[in-house]
């Protein structure tokens, strides 16, 4: 059985959502919520966005949890972690929840205007278009990432997601 290569299972860049680094968290959320990716007849929402600079160079990536982290209201992030934990300790009594939802929403809205560059992650690894799937799996595991940019002639041409690699592994093992 011939192993597929990164280029075979990647999503080409023109189909994958990406934004410039100065776009806001709010815009990043819209981008994720409105983009539907279809591979082999399966639809999914992107979990990660690519971030580019003004010269269209790939700068980094931003995951859902990075965005969520970025949304935490300022009045909370300025407090020590212990204090924050306590605020949400509603197991004892839910009515003890000390924050008004209005105040929360306002705080989140404010934070949503921050640029994604403030929460994005650097690109720590890439794979080549011709790399086989074993190499791809290796890079994902080794770097603990679920998405890898695919380079061809030193230029980004697409991305491979862990889910695509997983599907490929399933095909090999289950068929």
């Amino acid at each position: 059985m011939e192993l597929k290569r990164a280029g075979n299972i990647m999503i080409p860049l023109d189909r994958y959502p990406h934004i410039p680094y100065w776009f806001t968290l709010r815009q990043a959320i819209a981008e994720m919520e409105k983009s539907e990716l279809e591979t082999n007849g399966r639809k999914s929402l992107p979990r990660i966005l690519l971030v580019f600079d003004e010269a269209y160079k790939l700068l980094g990536m931003v995951r859902r949890r990075d965005i969520l982290r970025g949304l935490e209201p300022k009045f909370l992030t300025s407090e020590p972690l212990e204090y924050r934990k306590k605020l949400f300790n509603v197991k004892v009594d839910p009515t003890l929840f000390e924050l008004s939802s209005e105040k929360m929403v306002k705080g989140i809205r404010e934070q949503a205007e921050r640029p994604v560059s403030e929460v994005m992650l650097p690109i720590v690894a890439t794979v080549d278009y011709a790399d086989n799937i074993i190499k791809v799996i290796y890079e994902m595991v080794d770097n603990n990432v679920s998405l890898l940019p695919v380079l061809q002639d030193q230029k980004v041409v697409g991305v491979v997601r862990s889910v695509d690699v997983f599907h490929e592994a399933a095909r090999i093992l289950l068929e």
Binding site: I123, K155, V156
Partner: protein
């Protein structure tokens, strides 16, 4: 080193020449806009006059036309100066249109050589140009075998002979041309001067002899030697009625013949006669006066017969008015006449209404006329027998048949009971016009009031807001259209509208012309019109400049005559004939393939074409200016755009070597507005490089960035106080924004071109669609192709220009590299909605906040 200095100097000279050329072009451009505006105003005024609500005369038509001609020629000259040879074709087009206008205007008809006097027996209607209609018709009636008094005509040629012999024409013309008919005192003065001039001028001997000779022949062998001298002006009694304008002398004797003849000629210049022909587009030079010398009928009774009732033409009656004595007391209104209605079918008397006729005018043997009392026993008897009435009706209907139209005939019956027809002319049937009192609107709920009336009238219907051409297809029948400004595209929906309201606009806009052509009640300049509730029924009372809640068809009905005021009186007819070649707009969309000089069929087309093309030429001139780096100022700003500014209304040397200016030093209203908006949206600031530690940037191949490093080419602006052309290179997209912002809405416009981008074509196209949607909300007309957009808005007030420029500034910043993010339609739609909201452009009906 010398060669280097030379090179530098020659470069310097070229740069100066380039700047001079730019200044000149800009000045030509401004002149063109200015002239265009002026011409449109005159055209609009002429159109307004053609609605029949204002007083004007032939001098008005001539002077307006002269101004329009000068203006259009100037526009063409400037267009050629701006764009060169391709626009030469406009000259030909102008000449062709002008030739048509010339044909429509009454020329200075030449008076043909003829005999000084011509007996009625030799006359027919074909001789009207020589002897006037009144004389010619007397000859024509004789030919038909109808009874008329004998006589002869003193021809127009005789008049010309008299005028030339005394060099009167120039002196008369000079006085009339300086006349303003709205000032009656002026009219009086001029009239008196001219009449004095005519009456004091001698009749040349050879003319006097010819008249005497004809007179002797006329009365050869008759006992009665009395006659009447009647005016018969050329042109009189045909298209124009002239009723009662010129003098008639009754019962004149031989000794008075020449003096009275001269007085009839002078009567052409009574104030009312001058007024009449000025207001009927006739010039005195074409109205030569012929005079009829007619055997006096010693009338027992006389009057007028109309072959139809002029106010109720459908009632099938010949209408006869009759009094005792000479007819003068009837036509001048001294007496109320007996009225006889004779059936047109069987010529039987249907009805007679007798009036009390206390006096009559008679022609005594010693000459002149005398009023005498009618004996009491006669006062209420019929002045006409049934037999006579029937005979008269019969003659009248024969004349109607002969002339092919209703006639207005003067007649007299002498003491022997012999009937004479004295004159016939076409009868003007006037359809009754509703002259109802202004409608009562006291019970209506007023929604808003104000604005400028572009087309009077009133119309009801559901409110439909039109923001752009895209909305037009959805306009329901019978809607009240509410538009942000009267943009040309509205024409496609106007046929379905009952009324039109625009927040801005003026009577000079293209759309105003069209609204009037279509008689759509139209109000413009109603700032709050955007607040009219969509879908709700309202009534726009354009005449009253008010909008009421609910449908009020009775108001629309009552206002109807006002928007159908088109009148067919001669002067308005002439104005309309002229306007056919001046005001209709055939060239509407610059994108159409027939938007070329050869398609210009009216002066308005030429101005429209030139206006559009002038903007385009200015645009490319500004863009391609050479050596601009040598005479431009760099804009100091924290926005990292290398923006160079060239002022076209300032002398570069005044900067004294200064090479930079600050943002608050911008001396251009449109540029200031744009830059305000531009700054409002933040330029992306790259975090300090430390923050990006560990970030390796990776080149991308999926992008189509053309490999040009960012900002390789400087952005620049060509500015004046009221104008800007700004060319920005925003990273991967180019945008050029041109704007004119003056106090004259008709001169103002904004145009934006937007192209390219760094992302793949589908994302660039999505971005263009997003911009189109946003700009449509702002009232722009957009034409886009792929990732290229050309958007335009015009005829808007200065404040609106600035407001829209601020928005464009923001939009340009907000869409910088937005294409990158538009990976699918859903996300593009989300951004469109988000931006429309951010920019405050959502409709009331979309739900605010």
């Amino acid at each position: 080193m010398k060669w280097l200095r030379n090179v530098f100097r020659s470069g310097q000279e070229e740069a100066h020449a380039s700047l001079r050329a730019l200044h000149e072009k800009f000045s030509d451009f401004l002149t063109l806009l200015e002239t265009n505006n002026h011409v449109l105003k005159i055209i609009s005024d002429m159109e307004e006059k053609s609605q029949g609500e204002y007083l004007f005369d032939i001098n008005y038509i001539r002077s307006s036309l002269a101004e329009v001609r000068i203006g259009v020629r100037e526009i063409i000259d400037k267009m050629i100066a701006l764009g060169g040879e391709p626009y030469e074709a406009l000259r030909e087009q102008y000449a062709a249109i002008d030739a048509e206008i010339e044909k429509a205007l009454p020329g200075n008809r030449r008076i043909e050589r003829d005999d000084f006097t011509i007996p009625f027996d030799k006359l027919g209607r074909e001789r009207a140009s020589s002897v006037g209609s009144k004389n010619a018709q007397l000859g024509e009636m004789r030919k038909l075998g109808l009874p008329t008094p004998d006589g002869f005509a003193i021809s127009a040629w005789a008049y010309k002979y008299f005028v030339d012999a005394n060099s009167l024409q120039a002196r008369i013309s000079k006085r009339i041309e300086s006349l303003d008919i709205k000032h009656y005192s002026d009219l009086m003065r001029v009239s008196e001067e001219i009449r004095a001039l005519v009456v004091s001028s001698p009749v040349p001997d050879e003319l006097a002899e010819a008249i005497q000779k004809s007179y002797s022949e006329l009365f050869k062998g008759t006992s009665s030697r009395r006659f009447s001298l009647r005016s018969s002006a050329i042109g009189e009694d045909t298209l124009f009625s002239f009723a009662g304008q010129y003098a008639t002398f009754l019962n004149v004797g031989e000794d008075e013949l020449i003096a009275r003849y001269r007085e009839v000629l002078a009567s052409k210049f009574t104030p009312q006669a001058i007024y009449y022909f000025l207001s009927h587009s006739l010039t005195e030079s074409e109205l030569a006066m012929s005079v009829g010398c007619v055997e006096m009928v010693d009338a027992a009774s006389s009057g007028v017969v109309y072959t139809r009732d002029p106010v109720k033409p459908e009632n099938g009656c010949v209408l006869i008015n009759s009094i005792f004595g000479l007819g003068k007391y009837l036509v001048d209104g001294t007496l109320s006449p007996d009225v006889f209605c004779v059936s047109r079918d069987d010529k039987t008397l249907r009805e007679s209404r007798l009036a009390k006729k206390t006096v009559r005018l008679t022609a005594p043997a010693q000459g002149g006329t005398v009023e005498e009392c009618v004996p009491d026993s006669m006062q209420q008897t019929a002045s006409l027998t049934e037999e006579q009435a029937t005979l008269l009706a019969d003659f009248a209907l024969r004349l109607e048949k002969h002339y092919g139209g209703p006639q207005d005939i003067e007649w007299a019956i002498d003491h022997e009971g012999k009937l004479f027809l004295l004159q016939t002319r076409p009868l003007r049937i006037v359809s009754p016009r509703t002259t109802a009192a202004p409608p009562d609107v006291s019970g209506f709920r007023l929604l808003m009031a104000g604005g400028t009336v572009v087309c009077p009238g009133a119309g009801s219907g559901p409110v439909f807001h039109v923001a752009s051409t895209q909305d037009l297809a959805k306009v329901p029948d019978g809607a009240v259209l509410v538009a942000p400004h009267p943009f040309p595209g509205l024409i496609t929906a106007i046929g379905r509208a009952n009324a039109l309201v625009a927040r801005t606009g003026s009577v000079a806009s293209h759309m105003a012309t069209i609204a009037r052509e279509y008689c759509i009640p139209t109000l413009v300049g109603l700032e709050d019109a955007g607040a009219l509730p969509a879908g709700e029924s309202v009534t726009v009372d354009a005449t009253g400049a008010a909008i009421y809640a609910g449908a009020h068809p009775e108001l629309a009905m009552a206002r109807r005559p006002e928007c159908e005021l088109f009148d067919d009186t001669a002067i308005i007819g002439l104005l309309n004939k002229t306007l056919i070649h001046i005001s209709p707009l055939n060239l509407v969309h610059p994108g159409d393939s027939d938007f070329i000089p050869q398609s210009c069929r009216t002066f308005h087309d030429i101005t429209r074409f030139a206006h559009q093309k002038a903007m385009e030429e200015m645009f490319s001139t500004g863009k391609d200016v050479k050596h601009k780096e040598r005479f431009s100022l760099r804009l100091k700003s924290d926005i990292p755009l290398q923006l160079n500014i060239i002022y076209v209304d300032q002398d570069f040397s005044q900067y004294g070597g200064k090479s930079q200016i600050g943002e608050n030093e911008i001396e251009s209203i449109p540029m200031k507005a744009f830059w305000d908006g531009f700054r409002k949206e933040k330029w992306p600031v790259r975090p300090p490089s430390g923050d990006f530690k560990g970030f390796v940037t990776v080149m991308t191949s999926g992008m189509t960035a053309q490999g040009q490093p960012e900002f390789s080419e400087n952005s620049f602006a060509v500015l004046s106080k009221e104008y800007m052309i700004l060319s920005l290179r925003m990273g991967f997209h180019f945008t050029t924004i041109e704007a004119m912002c003056t106090q004259e809405p008709s001169k103002n416009y904004i145009r934006m071109k937007y192209k390219d981008g760094g992302a793949s074509i589908d994302r660039r196209v999505r971005r263009i669609k997003l911009i189109v949607d946003v700009l449509s909300k702002m009232g722009f007309e957009n034409s886009s192709k792929g990732d290229f957009l050309d958007a335009m808005i015009s005829y808007i007030g200065a404040d609106t220009v600035c407001e829209k420029l601020r928005l464009l500034g923001r939009i340009n910043m907000m869409t910088k590299q937005l294409d990158m993010a538009l990976s699918n339609d859903a996300i593009a739609e989300w951004y469109t909605r988000d931006y429309i909201k951010k920019l405050g452009l959502q409709d009331a009906k979309d739900g605010g906040s």
